[in-house]
């Protein structure tokens, strides 16, 4: 018996309204673990380069991990995997909350959605019973309203994942929201648009089938020490959320400011920080399932022009994307902007990036006030930020263009606009700067979904080197001791990406590293829960396998070294002031080191021997002719 897994995957064809259950292949599960790893294998096998991301032939895959739905700390997560309409390549997005746990307790490790419903539809899954229901009364409703309406029909214990109006309109910034007013999000890469393209409004899940835990006593004994340790180390995140480090982040030069042009934002950081939010607006903490940290915020703005409902407050990425990136120092604007993005179902990182892009285009005379529907897009203008979020969410005016993402928006504007479209492979970069943490240069450039900070998250090591010694104990300290160092950063990125692939597949939250836990703990928890004796080395090898699998998916779509790059603003413009004023990463050399450490060719293609070593023999036939050795 293998614990942790539900042992079944649900497959639904919305075109034919047919569904069936597939037994989980445990050999595949051992190789690809679960979460985005297992889902990536499904996508690789079934969605080739010829498939349009918004066509019925694309798959939308929701997948929990083997630890989801168990007491393993921070395991309350699920993945969404598909081909991205924003980038045209591999997309994975990750969310916390309780939906992943509810999916597992409903009896499934994952749901694979194919086809397209003939009319708006939602799914209701309870303890193995699956219903395909009419959603015409939900179409057009925002995500909070959708959650309320569905739960009034199926019961308050249901947990809902849904799209808002942005996903319905196939906006490329569209997210899939879950857990209603608690605003958990699979935000990146336009996964919400794929859901909208299938006329699928929501998936509601509920269940009582907790997965078995093979060595429960051993696990719980271990957690008696680990959980208090995590809580002790992470007091700041519990009290002030992920925004607790905003002031330090600005001071270190890591915070992108004014569309990545400016080096300092001292006063602004102080009044848009997690501690400022806790002092003035916090109602209570929010905990994802099985999480002892509780970094989530529940906030309320009671009065004034930026009033909000009581609900999810902004995290670090949102605080910066709608704050410093747009030169906005009004926290209430950020909180309302966050709520609007949640309701419309829009990725806050990409929304902030798109707004900052528009502000720069306005400054440079490429967009007029008339183009913006009367909005004055001067830097930091609250009405511009709120107004553009409405436009993006509704698909109106300038929002229609910005909702295509900054890559396409800049191409359509023309001229020098691509110079200030800050993205990698079509995904807007997240709110950490490679000029402050040099390994993020290859981290962003080689991220399998584009400009993502979490595919490597190597800045975590460079930011708190002493704290992260336990994460990968065998990784040399000198690789990450100096965040502005010029050596070994490619190798650091490789190792961090492999570990993050493990996290994305087991479905653990990456903040847990701050609690001084690492790969040895994850191997222990996985072994106790599944009953399979999995070592730390085996997990890291699985992580390497998964990273290469996702890369090969992208290679099949034409990705190579020419695409592994950074915007010139990050590559060659210094910040000028603040904590990283004069630093630039040595990108070219770092990338070559990265490819070498990966066992890839100089063109960024996994070598045949690398694929075979990792058990990815089936992918060899997809190597470009010039790469086959």
């Amino acid at each position: 018996m293998v614990g942790g897994y539900a042992g079944k995957i649900l497959e639904i064809d919305l075109t034919t309204r047919s569904l069936h259950e597939t037994p989980l292949d445990y050999d595949e599960a051992r190789k690809y673990l679960g979460g985005s790893g297992l889902a990536a294998k499904v996508l690789y096998d079934r969605v080739g380069p010829e498939v349009d991301p918004l066509s019925p032939e694309n798959l939308l895959i929701f997948m929990a991990g083997p630890l989801t739905g168990t007491p393993a700390p921070t395991s309350g997560r699920h993945a969404v995997v598909t081909k991205s309409p924003a980038t045209g390549i591999f997309a994975e997005s990750d969310s916390g909350g309780t939906w992943g746990q509810a999916l597992k307790w409903a009896g499934y490790d994952g749901i694979i959605i194919s086809g397209k419903a003939s009319s708006p539809t939602y799914l209701w899954v309870k303890d193995g019973d699956v219903r395909i229901r009419d959603a015409s009364h939900l179409w057009g409703k925002d995500s909070y309203e959708t959650d309320d309406i569905i739960k009034s029909s199926v019961g308050e214990r249901a947990v809902v994942a849904c799209i808002g109006p942005a996903g319905e309109r196939l906006c490329k910034l569209a997210a899939i929201m879950n857990d209603g007013y608690d605003g958990r999000t699979t935000g990146r890469a336009g996964v919400g648009a794929v859901m909208g393209s299938k006329n699928l409004k929501a998936i509601a899940v509920e269940g009582s089938r907790k997965p078995s835990i093979v060595r429960r006593g051993e696990l719980l004994e271990n957690l008696k020490t680990i959980i208090p340790q995590i809580k002790e180390y992470m007091v700041a995140m519990t009290k002030f959320g992920t925004g607790n480090g905003i002031v330090a982040t600005e001071a270190s030069g890591d915070m992108p400011i004014k569309n990545w042009r400016q080096g300092s934002f001292v006063e602004g950081a102080g009044v848009t920080s997690g501690q400022y939010m806790a002092e003035h607006y916090l109602v209570r903490n929010y905990h994802c399932a099985s999480c002892p940290i509780g970094c989530g915020r529940v906030i309320k703005v009671e009065n004034g022009p930026y009033k909000t409902a009581e609900g999810a407050g902004p995290e670090y990425e949102t605080l910066t994307a709608l704050g410093a990136l747009c030169l906005n120092d009004n926290l209430e604007v950020i909180m309302l902007g966050n709520e609007l993005c949640n309701r419309y179902g829009v990725d806050t990182i990409s929304a902030g990036a798109a707004i900052a892009f528009a502000m720069e285009a306005y400054e440079k005379g490429m967009i007029s006030q008339e183009d913006a529907g009367g909005l004055d897009l001067r830097w930091g203008n609250p009405e511009a930020i709120i107004g553009l979020i409405h436009q993006i969410g509704k698909g109106e005016g300038l929002g229609l263009l910005l909702g295509e993402g900054v890559r396409i928006a800049s191409e359509r504007l023309g001229g020098l606009a691509p110079e200030w479209a800050i993205h990698v492979k079509g995904l807007e970069c997240a709110m950490h700067d490679p000029r402050a943490y040099h390994s993020m240069a290859t981290g962003y450039a080689t991220g399998n979904r584009g400009g993502c900070h979490l595919q490597s998250a190597s800045y975590l090591w460079e930011r708190g080197p002493q704290a992260f010694k336990t994460a990968i104990p065998t990784m040399p300290f000198e690789w990450y001791e100096d965040r502005h160092g010029l050596e070994n950063k490619g190798k650091l990125t490789v190792n961090c990406q492999n570990l993050m692939s493990v996290m994305d597949s087991l479905k653990l939250c990456k903040f847990v590293f701050n609690g001084r836990v690492g790969i040895e703990n994850f191997a222990n928890w996985t072994s106790c829960i599944t009953g399979l004796d999995i070592s730390a080395d085996e997990l890291m090898e699985a992580g390497e396998r998964l990273y290469n699998l996702k890369r090969m998916y992208n290679v099949r779509h034409g990705i190579s070294r020419k695409d592994d790059t950074l915007p010139s603003r990050i590559l060659s413009h210094k910040r000028g002031t603040g904590g990283s004023a004069e630093f630039l990463p040595k990108f070219g050399e770092q990338l070559s080191e990265y490819y070498d450490a990966r066992g890839w060719t100089e063109e960024g293609i996994p070598a045949e021997e690398t694929l075979r070593r990792l058990g990815l023999d089936f992918a060899v036939k997809h190597l470009p002719v010039a790469a086959r050795i």
């Binding site: 992920t242 607790n244 002031v247 330090a248 270190s252 890591d254 501690q275 930011r463 002493q466 704290a467």
Partner: protein, 99 residues
Amino acid sequence: MQVLFAPPYNDAVGQRTVTVQLSEGAHVAGLLDLLVEMFPPLRQALTDALGRLLLGSEFFATVDDKVAKADQVLHEGSSVRLFPAIGGGARIESGRFTA
């Protein structure tokens, strides 16, 4: 009053809690200066190269479980807690603080 050190500061101090005597009307900043004098390894964690306290940036203090600013007055019986920032992380100058 009692001062509670969250990890990793407890490692630097060698204990989880200490009791200190301060004159009535002392401020949080004064307490922090005293702690840095009492426990020199804390200096790297709590101050920058110029000796300025990094309160609200690299670390936080609560008094009776409420966020404290440097100029907040302390009273006998107050319970103070020190803990590091996580989101912005550990030291700006990597590696200087040994946990």
